[in-house]
């Protein structure tokens, strides 16, 4: 019997070591293995910081409970001559751990609400230049206000199974959003069919696109020349997995050039379409839009 016991304990130890090893390996393989993605926007970075605070507290609680559990399992195994102590409880202990749990909850809440404004409220745009971006911010009552007033608002519209972005001035693009670096971009998120969810992991949390509602979030990319990837995060039908999104960060000049060329492209496309319609109409095959 004692030999079997030892074997089992050795097995558990080896098993625990394997698990830990696996975790350590995974941690080495990628820095973000134990925390959410970040780096594309200050709100994502703050969520990451908040995560680490909470994660460390959670890990302490978890190892405390699991450690005690394992200790008791090993220490209080039934053995010859050992009699279980017939203890029914202890009121002081009950009050103690109730208060303890409550204190942890309060601490987590306080930390969260200290950090919340930085995550929720848009930051001031960087650079400080007063050069106007293409199109002024559209004013709305419930839209988050950007301090300094220099910002960009882009409409994000979810539809089965593609994202459409409308920039100030009515220029639009699909799938890939182009934003200037260091400028606060407020996103107005809507849907025209079913529920979708806007999510670029490195640029902050997701916000649902619900038909009939407008949802807001914001981002401020630190540097140009980066493409951030994400995808729809709410089951929206069969091709939900293919509803991807990209955010390409560029300089302000590149952004203005992009808007201008997009506008030209759209105007050209509209002219072509009108010409096509006029060509087809006399033959009676075209339809009025």
């Amino acid at each position: 019997m004692p030999r079997a016991l030892g074997a089992r304990r050795r097995f558990s130890l080896v098993f625990a070591a394997c698990l830990l090893g696996l975790l350590a390996f995974a941690a080495g393989a990628s820095a973000d293995v134990l925390s959410p993605e970040s780096g594309g926007s200050p709100n994502a970075d703050l969520v990451d910081t908040l995560w680490w605070i909470v994660f460390v507290i959670a890990l302490l609680v978890l190892t405390g409970v699991l450690g005690t559990l394992l200790l008791f399992i090993v220490k209080y195994r039934a053995r010859k001559g050992r009699v279980a102590a017939q203890i029914h409880g202890n009121t002081r202990l009950e009050i103690g751990w109730t208060v303890g749990a409550a204190v942890i909850v309060v601490a987590l809440t306080v930390v969260t609400f200290i950090m919340l404004p930085g995550i929720k409220d848009p930051e001031e745009s960087g650079g400080g230049q007063s050069a106007s971006l293409a199109g002024a911010q559209l004013v709305s009552v419930d839209q988050p206000k950007v301090p300094g007033g220099r910002s960009l608002t882009i409409d994000v519209n979810g539809q089965q199974y593609i994202w459409r972005y409308t920039y100030p001035g009515g220029v639009y693009s699909y799938e890939e959003m182009v934003v200037p670096a260091n400028v606060t971009v407020v996103l107005r998120i809507r849907s025209q069919d079913v529920a979708h969810s806007w999510w670029i992991p490195k640029m902050g949390g997701k916000m649902d696109a619900l038909p009939g509602y407008t949802n807001y979030t914001w981002l401020k990319a630190p540097k140009p020349g980066v493409i951030y990837r994400g995808q729809c995060a709410e089951l929206c039908g069969r091709n939900h997995a293919d509803m991807v999104a990209r955010v390409r960060v560029v300089t302000e000049e590149e952004y203005r050039a992009f808007i201008a060329s997009k506008r030209q492209q759209i105007q050209q496309a509209n002219r072509d379409a009108t010409a096509q319609r006029q060509r087809l109409q006399p033959r009676g095959q075209g339809r009025e839009p």
Binding site: W51, A58, P201, G237
Partner: protein, 576 residues
């Protein structure tokens, strides 16, 4: 033969020990003895709570295996990036069937099955308060399941177990799968409501003499809260799916945004049911753990009153946390803050339970039998699921983790490491009572280690998958970063887990005929179901002892020991 053993027990035990003399109980007058019917007709027509309980458990376990196969198919598809094994249509059907099956057709009815079988036995009752209603509950559950699975032959539902509007509306999913889902919710919902009323009335009125609320077994306490929650939460989902049905077929626009309806309303109604449902699934599991731990630690439960009160507290709070499933929808900060706080506060009574369970082991003598393995597995990994739940309650963090594999990992830690471990503990603990035979300990431990390793391989890595940006409910993912290797680990784990469950299924099938005979009380347990022979006779008890504590069987064993000692001393007086 069974009747004979009970007979001798009731005549000899009270004669040696006055403490065990039974109080006169109301007589049941039988006007006729029902004819015993042959074979399957007996099962189909039965109103015996034990037979109904067995039917519940067997049916639920079959659905568990079906739901498990659906999960394995999904894991197979996700085992490699850009896999084309299963097309998106079938994948969405699989994820809907898997979630719906595990929740409506496995965990809740399985708990109802344990409750049906054990509740009257644990409180010393002859049967449930309404035996016919009880049989009806079972058949509603079975037909709900059949109606739902019939959709496999035309068009299974594809909108997830949450069936979010407007995706679930006729415009986007015109086929009948969603309707099958709606009828499943109605039928199993009615089944659960009537079952819950039956539990409640039985617990309130049919307890053994002396069994006050302070001496109610903890499993029965959790069944009581389970019942109250079902009665409060299920009408909401019944109403919601009826609105969805009229939206789909009769031209109403409750959830149609283009006609002034609100998709957000569906989410509120759904989760007002959906979150209590989570506790409906886990509370009886808590009860099973609270029964198993003290028996195998040979110690009374630590803080009986705190554990019972925590169940009630959890049940109450669970009605106030639903919108934490909706942190990313357009709601105000005040709403976010309220639901974050209520969700975190629920960790306090849950924490109290965990601490009391761990304290129950302290200075005990732990016998590591199979039920105890599963109970300890529950304790460890349910705690992990609870801790990740607190993290998710913090809404800025939830904005990142919501609808990702992190959430999938979280609720599988709660429902598989939690509810399923508790169910397996319950199967190994009560199988001897139900069949009169022991399950194989060796196979049980193999099953435990396989499920333990398989489960953690499958789900631990999914936390990281979610944090790296993998949303849930996607049928494919690109070949970038660690996604392929982590998904492969998860897929391998899921098959190990599946084999572990099959070992228990085999163990059950094998032991019904070949298991060692168990006797009335193989574990030297605490509660009243172990007083009667295994399996119990149709009338459960010929006589019910007066209850003087939470552990009546311990009292009885002590009394019998004392009595035999006295008898021996009478026969051969101590030499002086």
């Amino acid at each position: 033969m069974e009747a004979a053993t009970t007979h001798t027990e009731t005549t000899t035990v009270p004669s040696v020990q006055p403490a065990l003399r039974t109080r006169p109980r109301p007589q049941i007058v039988a006007h006729s003895v029902p004819r015993r019917r042959a074979g399957w007709i007996d099962w189909v027509t039965t109103v015996d709570h034990k037979k109904i309980g067995i039917m519940y458990m067997v049916t639920a376990f079959v659905f568990f295996l079906v739901g498990g196969v659906e999960a394995l198919l999904m894991r197979l598809q996700l085992g490699a990036p850009e896999n084309t094994l299963i097309d998106p249509e079938k994948y969405n059907a699989l994820l809907t069937m898997h979630g719906t099956t595990m929740i409506f057709l496995f965990v809740v009815p399985m708990m109802a099955g344990f409750g049906n079988y054990m509740l009257p036995l644990m409180i010393g009752a002859r049967d449930m308060a309404f035996p016919r209603l009880n049989a009806w509950s079972y058949w509603m559950f079975l037909f709900g399941g059949l109606v739902f699975y019939a959709s496999v032959f035309y068009a299974p539902p594809e909108a997830g177990w949450t069936s979010y509007a407007p995706l679930s509306s006729e415009a986007y999913l015109p086929n009948g799968g969603i309707d099958a889902w709606i009828f499943l919710v109605h039928l199993t919902g009615l089944s659960s409501i009537f079952g819950a009323i039956n539990f409640y009335v039985t617990i309130a009125n049919m307890r053994a003499p002396g069994m006050g609320w302070g001496r109610l077994p903890l499993f029965v306490w959790t069944l009581l809260t389970f019942s109250v929650l079902l009665i409060l939460a299920l009408p909401t989902i019944a109403a919601a799916v009826t609105l969805l049905l009229t939206d789909r077929h009769f031209g109403t626009h409750f959830f149609n945004p283009s006609q002034g309806g609100s998709p957000l309303l569906w989410q509120h109604l759904f989760w007002f049911f959906g979150h209590p449902e989570v506790y409906i699934m886990i509370l009886p599991g808590f009860g099973i753990i609270s029964e198993v731990l003290p028996v195998f630690a040979r110690k009374p439960i630590f803080g009986y009153k705190a554990v019972a009160a925590a169940s009630v507290g959890i049940a109450f709070l669970s009605l106030l946390v639903w919108a934490h499933h909706m942190f990313t929808t357009p709601v105000s900060t005040a709403v976010l803050a309220f639901f974050m706080l209520s969700s975190m506060i629920i960790a306090v009574p849950t924490g109290i339970k965990v601490f009391n369970w761990v304290a129950t082991l302290w200075r005990g003598t732990i016998e590591l039998k199979t039920p105890m393995y599963f109970a300890l597995g529950f304790l460890g990994f349910f705690t992990l699921g609870g801790v990740s739940g607190v993290i998710l309650a913090i809404f800025p963090i939830d904005w990142q983790l919501h609808d990702t594999y992190f959430v999938v990992a979280h609720f599988h830690y709660v429902l598989v490491a939690g509810a399923v471990n508790a169910i397996l503990a319950g199967i190994y603990y009560w199988f001897p009572k139900i069949t009169g035979r022991m399950l194989s300990e060796a196979l049980g431990k193999i099953s435990f280690w396989l499920t333990f390793v398989g489960f953690n391989l499958t789900f631990l890595i999914q936390h990281s998958l979610g944090m790296s940006g993998m949303p849930r409910r996607i049928y494919e993912y690109p070949d970038v970063g660690q996604l392929p290797i982590w998904n492969l680990i998860s897929t391998i784990g899921s098959f190990v887990l599946g084999v572990g469950v099959l070992v228990t299924a085999y163990n059950v099938v094998r032991s019904v005929k070949k298991g060692k005979p168990a006797g009335p009380d193989p574990w030297k347990a605490n509660t009243l179901e172990w007083f009667t022979p295994s399996p119990p006779p149709a009338n459960n008890f010929d006589a019910v002892p007066r209850i003087r504590s939470v552990e009546p069987m311990k009292d009885i064993r002590r009394a019998v020991q004392r009595a035999t000692r006295e008898q021996r001393e009478e026969r051969e007086p101590v030499k002086g």
